[in-house]
Amino acid sequence: MSATIRNLEGNEACALGAIRAGCRFFAGYPITPSSEVAEVMARELPKVGGTFIQMEDEIASMGAVIGASMGGVKAMTATSGPGFSLKQENLGYACGAEIPCVIVNVMRGGPSTGMPTRPAQGDIMQARWGTHGDHAIIVLAPASVAEAYSETIRAVELSETLRVPVVVLLDEVIGHLTETVDLAAVPETPEVWRKFATGPREGFQPYAVTEDLIPPMPRPGDGYRAHCTGLTHAPGGFPTQVPEVATAAVTRTTDKLALHRARIESWRVQDAEDADLLIVAIGISARAARQAVRDLRAEGLKVGLVRPVTLWPFPEDALRETVARSGARAVLVPEMNQGQLVLEVERVLAGRAPALRLNRIDGQPITPDEIAAAAREALT
């Protein structure tokens, strides 16, 4: 067996992926079912010259992560539903001030304390819209331990290069699942960093509008002595309430993601070409769907799967085109909540095909058999 092949837990894979991508700061707070991310970071970061700190609460850990990143160090935190809610205030700051950072959110049953050890997918909308105001954010949704590793690497890279917070959204099953993973399957590539400010100090504008809409980030100590604020700011970095300047400031952060969408979006399709029914699912529900598609195809039923790996921004063109090409009569959306992903699917399809729901909120994963049964019913 190669030394790079290991049985890894999903949470552990997130931590190791982040370290491999160059993350050297982690601040966290204990919460089930994500604590293993912090535990692995506490053990591994000091070995590679990084820093781990357990802060006094979830809010503080998000603040510390942003502070570390403002200092020019790649930083990450991990949490679950209620803790994710507490982080939303500072996450809004990171969105507004464009501070790179990665937040792992391992979804458990909710609302509130809910079912801490049981899986759910109830934070699909919180991950996108949890913080206040108009903002850009990226959310990645791994469906395996191998992807927890590779997508966390991608999260660090996207966060750095685009100066945007990235959420790695796992459900408890993937977070606590152990799978055999070949770490070498992710090719060795040069470490990716944010663009740091270079050039003249005089007249430097920390939020200058560049062609790629990604302003180079000043690193303390490099002589720029810039100002960073959560107040709506002009390109110079200082607060503004001039209507057109304020509009431009917020619009640039959302335009930025639109401009780089091709780099951000990621999805997988399975047996979609001729599908009469397409399933759209993420996380453990997508794994169940994968099995269901295989079982249904064996029965001769034409069923396919579209799996968003980048959940937000939602790969809407991919879904629209896959539905159009296949001529699917309907789309089935199995998810462990009362229907969140389906709302986005409905928005994207805008009536081109009906979106059928399959939901579970009992802390149990949706099984391949349940999806197969729903698919058979949809096709009759």
Binding site: N7, A146, L177, T178, E179, T180, I284, R290, Q291, R294
Partner: protein
């Protein structure tokens, strides 16, 4: 995708998660893909504890147990929760002492003296290793020496001798059931 599915079930503190992890490590060394998922109650000792292995070539489509090939029950706490996963392809291995009424149906069930054997070796805590030996021999999933190597690598060295004896006793227990 063809899978082989194993469930270790019993009571918290019986070392079920560890023995599943050991088997998973041995299988990974054999080039198999293993998905392991656990469930336990929020107590360190006692209460239902279970660990599932789904073994496949390449990544499993669905990584959770659907139809068990092997169900190990080491304590009555593990009764009842797995019955819906049993089919004619299943083999149930239950401890003869702690599981007085194991599931029976259109599948094979064997009651074996795991706990008693471990006790006779001097420590009931190696019950999980005895069972691992039996499971290894009955399933043929991986060569016994590969599994024993992982047992010794993943448990404290001071228990090496005891674990070797327990594993050997488990292997020896896997003789065909007398008719």
């Amino acid at each position: 995708m063809a899978t082989t599915e194993i469930r270790f079930s019993g009571s918290g503190g019986q070392g079920l998660l560890l023995s599943a992890r050991i088997l998973a490590a041995a299988l990974a060394r054999q080039g198999r893909n293993v998905a392991q998922s656990n469930a336990y109650e929020p107590v360190s000792r006692g209460g239902l504890s279970r660990s599932d292995l789904v073994i496949s070539e390449g990544e499993a489509d669905f990584p959770l147990a659907r139809r068990l090939d092997y169900l190990l029950i080491l304590d009555a706490a593990g009764l009842g929760v797995s019955d819906h996963l049993l089919s004619p392809r299943s083999l149930v291995l239950a401890d003869a002492e702690l599981v007085p009424d194991p599931p029976r149906g259109d599948f094979a069930t064997r009651a074996l003296p795991f706990v008693e054997t471990a006790r006779s070796l001097g420590n009931p805590r190696v019950t999980n290793i005895v069972a691992l030996g039996t499971l290894c021999a009955l399933s043929g999933l991986c060569p016994p020496e590969v599994l024993l190597d992982r047992v010794l690598a993943m448990t404290p060295a001071k228990f090496d001798r005891l674990n070797r004896d327990a594993f050997a006793a488990g292997l020896a227990m896997a003789v065909p059931e007398p008719v």
